[in-house]
């Protein structure tokens, strides 16, 4: 595997990355990834009039065999980050190092060999399967493209995969429309598995599914992880799901990671006010507990990623915000009293046991006025 690094790192600008022993090295390193979508006007003479800052300097590591959960509100850049990791989007800047190889600048041809080891499961089980292709070719296409297997051998392998993910191999010649949502997602899983990847990026793989079917797919993914020695980046907005599947969790807000740590620790003692608010908004099945639990209500809406707030991006909605928050951006660092792997980007992290008071942000007069004008806002909150 170390051999792979040689051609892909021609400049040799990061020898330390390649030099680390293959087994200890993180499978995936994301360094300062930035993804801006330009907003352009004009046809022939395009000029950029702005950009959507979908992902703004995200760094993280994923170790072999673990599951990294990625949570955040809709529009916070989770899916964009996933597509940057798998290079479905070109990066604006930053690096994605997959098993020691910087794949962020590879050409399409060079990328193809690495794509084999890095697959993706998509959110929409209806949109992610070509309605005009049969299941056999949907799952078998990657095998054909990468020249892994042909003819009868390909069919055998595809049917084996179908069996592994719990589909009837006799349905080889059916169209996606003949399957239910859960079965379709199994097809998506089989397709991602076909090339025996090391890393699978799951982009909200269960959020489009019925709750009972969600459990099946999650259990399937967990079984496969052990069986095929897989590493997952698991994106979701359902906190219960993320808590269940992840070893570590990263919380994103408006294109940045605000907090990252071991699942139990992060869920047990969230340090970032946003994480705390997010966790307090998740449903508790026990009504007694639900009544007694404290709910942090955030005011206002997620700001536009075209023109994000200065300093800490959360300061416009943060109940703990101070003047410094709008000026200086807090770095992602280990806060006092936290374990080594638990990092939080906050000037005033939530103390363990502290109850956040859901008041309008202290420093945003506009937000206060807005909240006063419409008192019902924030009642429902957002999660």
């Amino acid at each position: 595997m170390v051999d792979n690094t040689a051609p892909a790192n021609p400049a040799g600008d990061e020898p330390s990355v390649a030099a680390a022993p293959a087994e200890d090295r993180p499978l995936l390193q994301v360094e300062n990834v930035v993804k801006h979508f330009p907003i352009k006007r004009g046809i022939f003479f395009k000029r950029q009039i702005g950009s959507v800052q979908a992902v703004e300097g995200v760094s993280l590591e994923v170790r072999r065999g673990e599951t990294l959960g990625l949570v955040g509100e809709t529009g916070c850049g989770k899916s964009t980050l996933a597509r940057c990791i798998t290079r479905l989007h070109p990066l604006t800047s930053g690096r994605v190092i997959f098993d020691g190889v910087d794949i962020s600048r590879l050409s399409a041809r060079q990328l193809r060999t690495h794509r084999r080891r890095m697959q993706m499961i998509f959110q929409d089980p209806f949109g992610s399967l070509n309605p005009r292709r049969r299941v056999g070719s949907i799952i078998g296409d990657p095998l054909a493209i990468h020249g892994v297997a042909d003819g009868g051998e390909r069919k055998r392998q595809v049917q084996e995969l179908m069996e592994v993910v719990g589909l009837n191999p006799e349905h080889y010649n059916r169209f996606p429309s003949e399957f239910s949502g859960g079965q379709r997602q199994r097809i998506g899983v089989a397709r991602a598995l076909a090339l025996r990847p090391s890393l699978i990026v799951c982009d909200e793989p269960v959020s489009a599914l019925d709750v009972s079917v969600q459990a099946q797919i999650i259990n399937l993914l967990e079984d496969l992880q052990g069986e095929f020695n897989l590493t997952y980046v698991f994106i979701a907005h359902d906190l219960a799901v993320v808590e269940h599947v992840s070893d570590r969790v990263a919380v994103m807000y408006l294109g940045k990671i605000v907090e990252m740590g071991e699942t139990a620790e992060l869920f047990g003692s969230p340090r970032h006010p946003y994480t705390a608010a997010l966790l307090s908004a998740s449903m508790v099945a026990d009504p007694e507990k639900a009544r007694s639990s404290h709910r942090v209500v955030l005011y206002g809406d997620v700001p536009s990623p075209i023109n994000p707030p200065s300093g800490c991006r959360f300061h416009t909605r943060c109940p703990k915000a101070q003047p410094i928050c709008s000026v200086e951006e807090p770095p992602l660092r280990v806060q006092a009293g936290d374990a080594v792997g638990h990092v939080t980007a906050c000037h005033f992290p939530v103390a363990p046991g502290e109850q956040l008071v859901g008041t309008p942000p202290a420093i945003s007069a506009a937000a206060t006025a807005f909240a006063a004008a419409s008192p019902d806002i924030g009642e429902e909150g957002r999660a």
């Binding site: 046809i43 794509r115 993706m120 397709r191 459990a215 269940h244």
Partner: protein, 302 residues
């Protein structure tokens, strides 16, 4: 939170989705329900048979002058549709004329499909400068009337079927290109295209293996509108005298030949037969196209 699993969850074995909606089977099923379209299909089938038969056999030699009395009226023994001013058998000429119409219609449609689909897929997928450049090219082509191309080709190359086909194809591929471009732009944003890219598929595979099959319905429908338009335009060219060279029978040319006898008050049937054949054929293609649109194009489905 642990998510409970158990055998009670495994209700998923059955097929919840509607039975198989393969493009062809579904489309043909819908087409069969449409009586008008079905009648059109029957007529077009007959026309195709007549066309094939006329390649090998006609009652008389269609170009034989004096095969029967000039201006023989319909019903003359041996000449059910009568004869023209040169004494040529009209039914024979009408049969042979279908060859030109069908050839022009189908070959033009084939060229339009190949050109329009390729260009549409390319500019819809690549977008950007290529798209803008082709938009300009397409607008230029819209500005050139087919008759002008036909006349120029007639002057340069002399009369011939190929010229007509080129002229018509050159002025009707843009609609197809635009249609396919729009389809491509919408389909390329769907998740299965990303899935294909994640699987390592090359651009060609994505264009022809994934996008094209999903745009096939509208393409088929558009094609069925190209055919009658091409037939009508070619008949129009022939009527004006820019069509196939003289002895060869075609419906537009026959109508032209029947025009002066009609004005002179001799025999309206010389003009009438090709006009009827043309009208019915165009109607049939249009009904067939409408039927296909209802069958294949989900957006306009009633």
């Amino acid at each position: 939170m642990a998510i409970p699993a158990g055998p009670w969850l495994e209700y998923e074995g059955g097929t919840l989705a509607r039975q198989q909606v393969g493009l062809w089977r579904d489309g043909l099923r819908r087409l069969r329900r449409n009586r008008l379209a079905l009648a059109a299909v029957v007529y077009l089938g007959l026309l195709a048979c007549v066309c094939v038969v006329s390649l090998f056999w006609t009652p008389y030699n269609p170009n034989l002058v004096g095969a029967c009395p000039t201006y023989a009226l319909p019903g003359t023994p041996g000449h059910p549709l009568g004869c023209d001013d040169l004494g040529r058998d009209l039914i024979s000429r009408l049969m042979v004329g279908s060859q030109v119409s069908l050839a022009v219609g189908l070959i033009t449609a084939a060229i339009v499909v190949v050109l329009g689909v390729s260009v549409g897929l390319l500019i819809g997928y690549v977008r950007g400068v290529v798209d803008a450049a082709f938009a300009l090219v397409i607008n230029v082509f819209y500005g050139v009337p087919p008759l002008m191309i036909a006349i120029v080709l007639y002057v340069l190359l002399g009369p011939g079927l190929i010229n007509i086909i080129i002229a018509i194809a050159a002025s009707s591929w843009m609609d197809m290109a635009r249609l396919v471009r729009g389809q491509t732009m919408s389909i390329r944003e769907r998740e299965f295209i990303e899935a294909a890219r994640a699987g390592g598929a090359r651009t060609g595979k994505i264009l022809f293996g994934h996008i094209f099959p999903n745009a096939l319905g509208p393409i088929i429908v558009q094609t069925t509108y190209v055919v009658p338009a091409a037939i009508l335009t070619s008949a129009f060219f022939s009527f004006l005298g820019f069509g196939v060279p003289a002895p060869q029978a075609d419906w537009g040319g026959m109508a032209s030949e029947g025009f002066s006898p009609l004005l002179a008050g001799f025999d309206p049937y010389i003009l009438l037969w090709p006009a009827i054949a043309l009208s019915v054929t165009l109607l049939a293609f249009n009904f067939f196209g409408d039927g296909l649109r209802d069958a294949f194009d989900p957006r306009q489905r009633r």
